[in-house]
Symmetry: C2
Subunit: 461 residues, 2 copies
């Protein structure tokens, strides 16, 4: 009996240890995008936070690349996500607005059918695709992930602070000591509501389990996993295991649970046959929501936060990981955007970029391999308003509006100019000293405006 | 002939590759303290700076420990250095003042002979000792490094912005485009002035060469190398090799040259027989000098800078490195101080702490091995004034005074209270909600005051 067991163990071990890399090397890489909600530039240990412990993200950085000048395409949720998934600025597809900044439960609109999401792109060449997490690109059937390129969807259709119930504590009080039942947010699997209100306390854990299952069940074909966490958007909820775990308090608990989740996902990849054939991005949709004080994150040394086109609103703490392809422990300071993930993944999958529309996406592989980026400029939009432009070190603001306490944008007759390489905190306006830079950036904007046709807003429907 | 050469090469290789660890393991470890001047908490890539490239310091962190709650003992130069080298608060030895905050070229005082510097401590048990860099504990003969425990001294005796010559540009203009001849700072070897004005453009490079030579020439006995850089204190100077090297401009060039220097020193240690027997600290004397705008550093997410007892003035970006003893890629969030290096080194060298005086130093080895620290509280002094106290997460301010623009301290009848674990940026005063914490910290301060005998100021002489 004992010998039989040994023999079986041997046989099993042999099967499990079979080299399977041949299969994975001949196929395009898997793509995983882990996308946080309202995470601040300064909230990870590897981006300088003193008390939030993120050992798995630090390890991801040690094995991969830290990108310190990587941006979302908008300072709020819906447009940022639309841009990530389409590789296009939100004004081009109407996923923005100057009044209603994101989609709400009573919205009638969503991502237009004419848009080609990254999931649709990758589906064309046989990728298995899943969206696990917060969608926020339209909750009505035509707009759901399953109608937009994803084989599978598990998550909440809009923000976790929406569908507030009438008898919850008023104003921001509900967030101070949040209870799941204060919000009636649905949890969906594919097109079906499976739980309402969603039990947000276990949501990060369940997203993780779903993601792990998806990775494990897609070992023979390439996959695209889009994992937009609901957290750390308020109301903040975490599993029992993370209660009072972080020195940073509730907000830290949430980040440390996300960190755990990243560890679980990378471990799953490491132990799978796709370990050397999976590109993973970790980033966020916009900056920290500062009005929530200690329940909001930190933009570190950057100015302002979510909602604003100051750096704190749009620059994201970003990591890229691909063992064997991206050198460990490296830092890239090249200009890059969440929109660039679209071209990068398309290129790696061998599928052409759409040629019937203006794209705002540049292949990141040169950057990820330690070289110069292909992106020349970055445009900072707030709704349909072009607020600022960046090229190289220079950022020029035509208009500024703080995230809060400033109801209308201020137009600057002489634009404000900051050298972000020297002055990442946007403290010292140097426009007077640099008329040549103002002129050069002005030309870039004029060129950009020629292609900047505004589509009608989907958010005002 | 060819064979002879091969034979010699072989023999030499054999000699050079002889394992010599037996010798080094039987002796106490070498101690290296790399001490910057006015470096900000947020100025290293591994502490979150987006554009300053510090690959050698990042590597040091990857192979060692990052300490995120590590403090200098004072927010300005002279008292901070005195505390580092004596393991005692400056008010105990008079190396502070409420009026003249540091020593000047016309000062008559310096570190009292009764103080036992860390160099004197280690000399007792046979360490070779060197101070290479900025001293600033008294430039008159009795106060020089060579009279205070150091076998060897190479460096400038006070700050690099002192001894300004009369016909230099006025005010801060001299710093904008600094020339070596604007300052008449002497460079000394032991007790002799060897160059005046010191050629500051090559000073970081020359400190490094001196340090490398010292390490190489002390391979059979333990050594203590104290390397207080003159930089990045204004005026900012760097070698030709670092001119326009950094995206961050002149200030970044300086940090990148210091980073290079750290790489050179660690490489020298790695290649020496003491590679596994050398504990290296990297930290700074106080926070960034913010009035110098882009020529000053960044405190990252911390409040205020040099001169202030807000966090930005005294919390330092700190790394500890000791292959085989300190686990690589770790982060400690324990409370610790530059003063603790004294007890740590003394303990490792097997020399008793002075027992005839009050010490403010705690052995860091438990922290460096990933455990809890021994330090219970931290006292924030500005001159002789106790401004604030910290225990655990809590910091209580009795008085506050911004580094600049606030000529007198403000006394708070109800102290301000911040939870630094949750609120490292000191944004949200929570004293009203936490009377128990106020009371507890009040008791700690009362106990502290019993031992807080103020020595007469050496800085007002």
């Amino acid at each position: 009996m004992k010998y039989l067991l040994v023999a079986i163990t041997f046989a099993l071990t042999a099967v499990l240890q079979q080299p399977v890399s041949a299969a994975s090397n001949s196929q395009p890489p898997n793509i995983i995008v882990i996308f946080c909600d309202d995470l601040g530039y300064g909230d990870l240990a590897c981006f300088g936070h003193p008390t939030i412990a993120t050992p798995h993200l630090d390890q991801m950085a040690a094995e991969g690349m830290k990108l310190t000048q990587f941006y979302s395409a908008a300072p709020v949720c819906t447009p940022s996500r639309a841009a990530l998934l389409t590789g296009r600025l939100p004004m081009r597809n109407g996923m923005c607005s100057n009044s209603r900044r994101v989609l709400f439960p009573n919205s009638k609109g969503g991502i237009p059918a004419t848009e080609i999401t990254l999931a649709e792109q990758l589906q064309k060449v046989g990728y298995a695709t899943a969206c696990i997490g917060k969608w926020h690109l339209g909750h009505l059937p035509p707009f759901l992930p399953t109608r937009n390129g994803f084989d599978y969807y598990f998550g909440i259709p809009y923000s976790n602070d929406m569908d507030r119930v009438n008898d919850s504590p008023k104003g921001r009080q509900a967030f101070q000591n949040p209870k799941v039942e204060y919000w009636n947010v649905p949890l969906m699997r594919n097109e079906e509501i499976i739980e309402r209100p969603a039990d947000q306390t276990t949501i990060t854990k369940r997203y993780t389990e779903e993601a792990v299952k998806f990775i494990k069940s897609n070992q023979t074909e390439p996959f695209f996993l889009y994992l937009p966490h609901s957290m750390p958007h308020v109301p903040l909820f975490r599993s029992n295991e993370f209660e009072n775990k972080s020195r940073r308090g509730l907000y830290g608990d949430i980040i440390e649970e996300i960190d755990w989740s990243v560890g679980r996902i990378l471990d799953t990849v490491r132990q799978s046959q796709s370990s050397e054939n999976t590109l993973v991005f970790f980033t966020s949709d916009n900056g920290p929501w500062l009005i929530f004080n200690e329940q909001g994150g930190s933009a570190g040394l950057l100015r302002d936060g979510k909602g604003s086109t100051w750096e704190g609103g749009m620059r994201e703490p970003t990591l890229a990981w691909w063992p064997g392809k991206i050198k460990g422990g490296t830092v890239s300071r090249e200009l890059a955007s969440t929109m660039d993930i679209y071209a990068t993944a398309s290129q790696l999958a061998g599928v052409q970029l759409p040629d019937d529309r203006t794209m705002d996406s540049y292949d990141l592989m040169p950057v990820l391999q330690g070289g110069q980026g292909l992106r020349e400029a970055l445009f900072y939009y707030r709704g349909y308003r072009l607020m600022a432009v960046r090229q190289g070190a220079w950022k020029m603001h035509f208009m500024t509006q703080n995230a809060y306490g400033q109801p209308q944008p201020v137009t600057h007759d002489t634009p404000l100019l900051f050298n972000l390489h020297v002055d990442p905190s946007e403290k010292w306006n140097v426009s007077q000293q640099n008329p040549d830079v103002i002129a050069r950036l002005g030309k870039i904007v004029a060129e950009h405006k020629k292609t900047a046709k505004h589509a009608p807003s989907q958010l005002e429907k």
